[in-house]
């Protein structure tokens, strides 16, 4: 092979690469990049949504950073993202910081499962909220405590086994839901500890993230911890059936979480900001929660249109993807209300012309 032919080959490849880059960049000019940040809990579902949505609209690209609900709210308020995501609804004083009204769009539902590691006990156990609160406050110290035995008369509890309480050490929406539930069911908890994304735990070990708590529970016989339902299922951890407001012991599942959402529909406020822990109704798992997408009520029309289209898709096709990832789809009645809320988003600004220009 002569030198010249190698050179010409090289230049052909170069030209090809340059042409490729040019066409890529002209393509990139047409795509809309939508930035979002926030909750880690619904991230598996969101990731699936964003990749599936490419098939619906190739011109939209999502960039979602799962940095946590608190960070998501902060970034959204600072205006650095196009949408936010949070497990706990924003507080009134946070909403007041924004110049543009903010909408809470319920995206899906999840639950906090309470899991345990007891040698010899494979099946689920029963627990009342009062006993749960006492365990996490460090008041009930051993597994063969009278109050636990009373709830599980048929189970052979290990003798003299200490309870190791495991919790999320990082600030977390999961912790917010769990402590908010305990605050609701235990006046003692409300007085001594309260609720939030990170609280002052009176006892136990902290693990970072769901995987941190999971591995603490896995390693320590006698431990109890709370994780997102998905994690308990994937690790095949035994979980507690928790006594709900109606007095039934209910296990966490997609079905019992949907029940919680259905039961709360009557009391759901106009802006969807609601806590559905300890919801009334039968077959309801009491530690369930909505997770939200945070959207500006007024948006620049070019990008806004794409976001609205995506939200409508998420309420339809998107909901059918939830159950396979252990999230509960929104009840149909609620989807209708959310869709009409999405219709209220105002698109403004004269960038329609720009869009037309780009398409030419």
């Amino acid at each position: 092979m002569s030198v010249i032919s190698i050179r010409s080959k090289f230049s052909i490849v170069c030209a090809g690469v340059i042409v490729g880059f040019l066409s890529l960049s002209s393509f990139a000019a047409e795509t809309v990049l939508i930035n979002g940040a926030g909750a880690t809990f619904p991230y598996p579902l969101y990731a699936k949504w964003f990749s599936s949505y490419r098939e619906v609209d190739k011109s939209v690209e999502f960039n979602y950073q799962s940095i946590g609900s608190g960070g998501g709210i902060r970034q959204f308020l600072a205006g650095t993202t196009d949408f936010g995501a949070s497990d706990a609804p924003m507080k009134d004083d946070e909403l007041a910081q924004s110049k543009v009204p903010i909408l809470h769009i319920p995206a899906t539902l999840g639950a906090v499962a309470v899991t345990f590691n007891l040698p010899g006990v494979k099946d689920s156990l029963n627990l009342t909220p009062e006993v749960l609160a006492k365990i996490f406050m460090g008041e009930i110290k051993k597994w063969d405590d009278e109050e636990i035995l009373k709830l599980n008369p048929k189970v052979a509890m290990p003798k003299n086994q200490y309870i190791i309480v495991c919790y999320r050490s990082d600030g977390s929406g999961t912790t917010a839901v769990f402590t908010e539930y305990l605050e609701k069911v235990s006046p003692d908890w409300k007085k001594r500890i309260g609720s939030g994304k990170s609280v002052k735990w009176p006892a136990g070990l902290g693990g970072k993230g769901n995987e941190g708590v999971s591995s603490l529970v896995k390693q320590n016989p006698g431990s109890i911890g709370y994780v997102e339902m998905n994690y308990a299922f994937e690790n095949k951890f035994p979980v507690f059936a928790i006594k709900n407001a109606k007095g039934e012991f209910v296990l966490p599942s997609v079905k019992s979480v949907t029940k919680a959402a259905e039961a709360s529909l009557k009391v759901l406020p106009e802006d969807f900001r609601v806590s559905i822990t300890e919801a009334a109704g039968s077959d309801v798992y009491p530690i369930s929660a909505y997770t939200y997408l945070l959207i500006y009520q007024k948006m620049e029309s070019h990008k806004g249109k794409k976001i609205v289209e995506f939200l409508r898709w998420a309420m339809g096709k998107g909901q059918t993807m939830a159950a396979s990832l252990n999230y509960a789809p929104l009840p149909n009645q609620l989807v209708k209300r959310v869709l009409s809320k999405i219709d209220s988003i105002a698109l403004e600004g004269g960038s329609d012309k720009k869009e037309g220009h780009k398409l030419n």
Binding site: I67, G68, S69, G70, G71, Y162, I164, S169, D170, G171, S172, G173, I193, G194, S195, G196, K197, S198, V199, K200, W201, G204, L205, G206, G207, K208, G212, S215, L216, Q219, N220
Partner: protein
């Protein structure tokens, strides 16, 4: 005051040698290219200094609300509660200092022994690959150490190390409580492993710098091999070892991810190495992303500022020790 005025030139001379007798190069002697090079280097050096100062300033500014709210109580109280808005960093400072010092205590003897073995005792075919492997430890990302700590080290400590310690030494407060694997002990071991390659590498360089004639002289005087190492190698390189220790300490103080994953993340002040703890770096890793209130953000910034101060203080203190030892060694 007199003592202070005596110390200022001493310290200044060490920070900026030659400041008291600065010599200026006359302009005409320097050619044009040299001058551009000189100012280019000077500008980068000052830019780095300015970067550091701007970082300090920003962290300090962010932590002002917390310092205003709590004042000195921030350093001497131990209540970290974002629900009530009470923040005190004592347990975090305690956790940071104790875990780092204990890690140093564990790592330095091992590192010095390893360096001695590799340099003086091991045959060439062994010392090269072994030294390479130990230096590779420094290249492992800290999150990998954290995962290893969580899934391998902590269960190992819980099953094989802590129970016998509790059985035989459980009467001391150091090894009391239930063995849980994660906790102060796991953090100390992880930190020790992480800083060991740094200390070993520097010690090896220090030992290598000792003239061959010194060792030969010691052997010639009839010293055994161990006595030769003691007299000719260890005794003349203790400032170097101290310097290596300081670098290791600096790394241990600021280590974040690996510690966060194994320390148990409960801000307790407990004498027991079985108990869980929390360090300043680990609470930042845990809470910064999801901090709710501005006060909590500010308190976390204050922790960052404190961590900076503590590192500065310990580094400065250690540096002073080196100078003192060094000057004594010179005069003696």
């Amino acid at each position: 005051m007199e003592v202070v005025s005596k110390w200022i030139p001493f310290v200044l001379e060490r920070i900026m040698p030659g400041i008291s007798s600065a010599r200026r190069i006359r302009r005409r002697e320097v050619n044009w290219g040299d001058r551009v090079f000189y100012y280019g280097l000077k500008a980068s050096a000052w830019a780095l200094g300015a970067l550091l100062l701007s970082m300090i300033f920003l962290i300090w500014k962010m932590s002002l609300p917390a310092f205003h709210q709590f004042g000195w109580r921030f350093f001497i109280t131990n209540d970290w509660n974002s629900v009530t808005g009470e923040f005190g960093a004592l347990a975090l400072i305690y956790g940071t200092v104790v875990s780092s010092l204990a890690a140093i205590g564990l790592a330095v003897p091992v590192s010095v022994a390893v360096a001695l073995f590799l340099n003086e005792l091991a045959p060439e075919w062994l010392s090269r690959p072994l030294g390479f492997f130990i230096e590779m430890l420094a290249a492992i990302p800290s999150i990998v150490y954290g995962l290893w700590g969580l899934f391998v080290l902590a269960p190992f400590l819980r099953n094989y190390i802590q129970p016998p310690l509790a059985d035989y030494l459980g009467f001391t407060p150091l090894f009391s409580g239930p063995p849980m694997g994660v906790g102060m002990m796991a953090a100390v071991v992880i930190l020790a492993i992480m800083i060991m390659p740094t200390i070993t590498a520097i010690c090896r360089e220090v030992f290598r710098a000792i003239p061959r004639s010194n060792k030969e002289a010691a052997l010639g005087l009839g010293a055994t091999r161990w006595e030769m190492l003691k007299i000719a190698v260890l005794r003349s390189s203790h400032t170097g070892i101290l310097g290596a220790t300081i670098l290791g300490l600096g790394r241990a103080l600021g280590e974040t991810m690996a510690v966060t994953m194994v320390i148990g993340n409960n801000p307790l002040i407990s004498a027991s190495f079985f108990s869980s703890g929390q360090t300043m770096a680990s609470i930042l890793a845990n809470q910064y992303a999801e901090a709710d209130s501005l006060l909590q953000l500010s308190a976390l910034s204050a922790v960052a500022f404190t961590l900076f101060l503590v590192s500065l203080l310990i580094n400065g203190l250690a540096r002073l020790i080196v100078w003192r030892v060094h000057s004594q060694y010179k005069s003696g």
